[in-house]
């Protein structure tokens, strides 16, 4: 059994100080909009992923009157307590410890998997490639520490290489100077592409199953990786093709002063009934597709850790019809570990139908009060 048992929040968004004790299975957060439901979910996510699902700027996470934020939560895993503490000071100093031992972000990232689904996830289907790259980078990093390290190295190589491409003084010997950076770009970039193709194919299988469930098998969902490196289904060809593509783009790279080939420009396509979902699908289809991606992620974490991840559902129940709500709850019962559901509307009937003991948190202006609800049987 894997779950978060308790959490102390200090100076996070609209929470000044709050101590919470969670239910190991099901926690319902009830409250009007802008009272702090999403902020609470965000703090749990931050404790696991060390970044927010809503912003790239940690600065925004601190309480407007405080200089810093502090989170202390206890995850229970395999019967052991893991006390995770994160502090972030306004000057950018970030500190992370587990049971008082300092740890770095990439060792932490795989430890306590949390999956969030929020209305913003619609962007994965609807918006441009950068959102999907962010999604795939985060998922792959959380499944493989090696991916995360190579991605960081790749980004550093890009920075160095782009700097050379912008340099007008060394033009005469530029090809020689670029050579070592090209080698690293190709080696790291090829590994990144290969791993992404693998993750996309795993996600596709699980997302398809979930999508079938939600649409009563009336519609299909598929994913396909779109790379700037042409590899025609032979992953071993990637380094060779990467190299020749770089050679053909060299003039363009000098003109733009940036690297024109590589996974930093790749994308993946989401297809519903064979058509690009970004352009040819309804709002409801997009939402179901985004949910399917997230639930596929749940399944991949479960496969990797032999235990379901913690799931955060931010205000999503109001958006689905009754059949989909029931399918979603069924899926969660079978695959998730601990669940957090935030809602502004009354879920009474739905929750009662689950007939499971749970805890309800009423949230008002950055304060939470809780009550336990026992199952009737």
């Amino acid at each position: 059994m894997f779950y978060i048992d308790n959490l102390l929040i200090k100076g996070f968004r609209n929470y000044r100080q709050q101590q919470l004790q969670f239910h190991p299975h099901l926690n319902i957060l009830i409250g009007d909009n802008a009272q702090g439901k999403t902020n609470l979910l965000e703090s749990i996510y931050y404790l696991s992923v060390t970044r927010s699902f809503r912003t790239n700027h940690d600065q925004e996470l601190t309480h407007w009157e405080e200089q810093s934020l502090y989170l202390k939560g206890t995850f229970i895993k395999n019967g052991f307590n893991h006390v995770v503490q994160i502090s972030y000071l306004q000057n950018g100093r970030f500190k992370l410890t587990i049971n008082n031992d300092p740890v770095n972000r990439y060792d932490h990232l795989q430890q306590f998997p949390v999956v969030v689904f929020s209305p913003d996830d619609l962007q994965i289907v609807r918006e441009g490639p950068s959102i999907r790259r962010r999604f795939i980078n985060l998922e792959a990093s959380r499944l493989s520490p090696k991916y995360f390290k190579e991605l960081r190295a790749y980004q550093r190589v890009l920075l160095q290489r782009n700097h050379l491409l912008k340099d007008k003084q060394n033009r005469r010997q530029i090809n020689v100077l670029l050579e070592p950076w090209d080698q690293s770009l190709i080696a790291l970039g090829s590994n990144i592409i290969r791993y992404r193709v693998e993750v996309i194919s795993d996600l596709e299988k699980e997302a398809q199953l979930f999508f079938n469930l939600m649409t009563n098998s009336r519609e299909t969902l598929s994913l396909s990786y779109l790379s700037t490196v042409n590899y025609c289904d032979d992953l071993l060809e990637i380094p060779k093709n990467f190299h020749s593509a770089l050679m053909t783009k060299r003039d363009q790279e000098f003109n733009r002063g940036s690297t024109a080939i590589g996974p930093h420009l790749d994308d993946f396509k989401i297809l519903i009934n064979g058509y690009d979902a970004r352009r040819f699908s309804s709002q409801g289809q997009k939402r179901t597709a985004a949910l399917a991606l997230k639930m596929a992620e749940v399944y991949l974490f479960k496969r990797q850790n032999h235990e379901g991840p913690i799931i955060l559902l931010d205000d999503v129940f109001s958006e689905f019809d009754i059949n989909r709500k029931i399918h979603l709850l069924d899926f969660l019962r079978d695959n998730s570990g601990q669940c957090f559901i935030s809602t502004a509307v009354d879920l009474n009937n739905l929750i009662e139908s689950l007939n499971r003991e749970h805890k309800i948190f009423s949230i008002r202006q950055g304060c939470a009060s809780d009550e336990i609800v026992r199952s009737s049987s």
Partner: protein, 198 residues
């Protein structure tokens, strides 16, 4: 707390050492105060002497007390083996393993376009000339296992491949992103044994 002026001055100076915070600086200061006058003079003198007498070897760039270092002037060392490192302190780390009996070449940095460090700044032409002139059989590139160290190794391999019969790299076994300085002796010995051709 109000410090006597001369104590405060001493603590402030000690704080400038890398890795020394206020507390450790205080402890060191009180240690010095507890020493005899002669001992304190000996310590101060050792610092000045090291600063005055140590320079970089004109041949390999290692720390040296004369024009050339103790490695370059030792005829007992294997003249056909050359190990390229980033920093003078890396030489000391490799020496500690007791496994390596060849010569060194210290780059004093790694390629980094962002910091304006290219082949010229690392004086790589000097390295090329040395390999050409001295009939070096194998060059072991022991730059740091990070992005800049890898690129430097690749660049050196490109320059030296036509000149030396073997160019190898040690990097694996060392902590990723870590400097060779932090590798323990055992991992370094293993790395040396398991070096790979590039």
């Amino acid at each position: 707390m109000a410090y006597p002026v001369s104590l405060k001055k001493l603590v402030d100076v000690l704080c400038r050492f890398p890795g020394i915070g206020q507390k450790t600086a205080q402890r060191l200061a009180f240690y010095l105060l507890g020493c005899s006058r002669e001992d304190v003079i000996a310590i101060a003198r050792a610092m000045v002497e090291a600063k005055d007498r140590l320079t970089f070897c004109v041949i390999c760039g290692s720390l040296a007390e004369a024009e050339s270092c103790s490695y370059c002037s030792d005829p007992g060392r294997d003249q056909s083996l050359l190990c390229v490192v980033q920093e003078p302190r890396d030489v000391l780390v490799l020496e500690r393993t007791g496994q390596y009996r060849g010569l060194y070449h210290v780059l004093h940095g790694a390629l980094s376009p962002l910091d304006g460090i290219g082949p010229e700044e690392l004086k790589l032409d000097q390295l090329v000339r040395r390999v050409e002139d001295k009939n070096v059989g194998e060059v072991i590139v022991a730059t740091n296992p990070n992005v800049e160290g890898d690129a430097t190794a690749a660049y050196i391999a490109m320059l030296l491949k036509p000149l030396a019969s073997r160019v190898t790299r040690i990097a694996f076994g060392l902590p990723v992103g870590g400097d060779i300085e932090y590798a323990d002796d055992l991992t370094l010995s293993r790395s040396l044994e398991g070096r790979r051709e590039i």
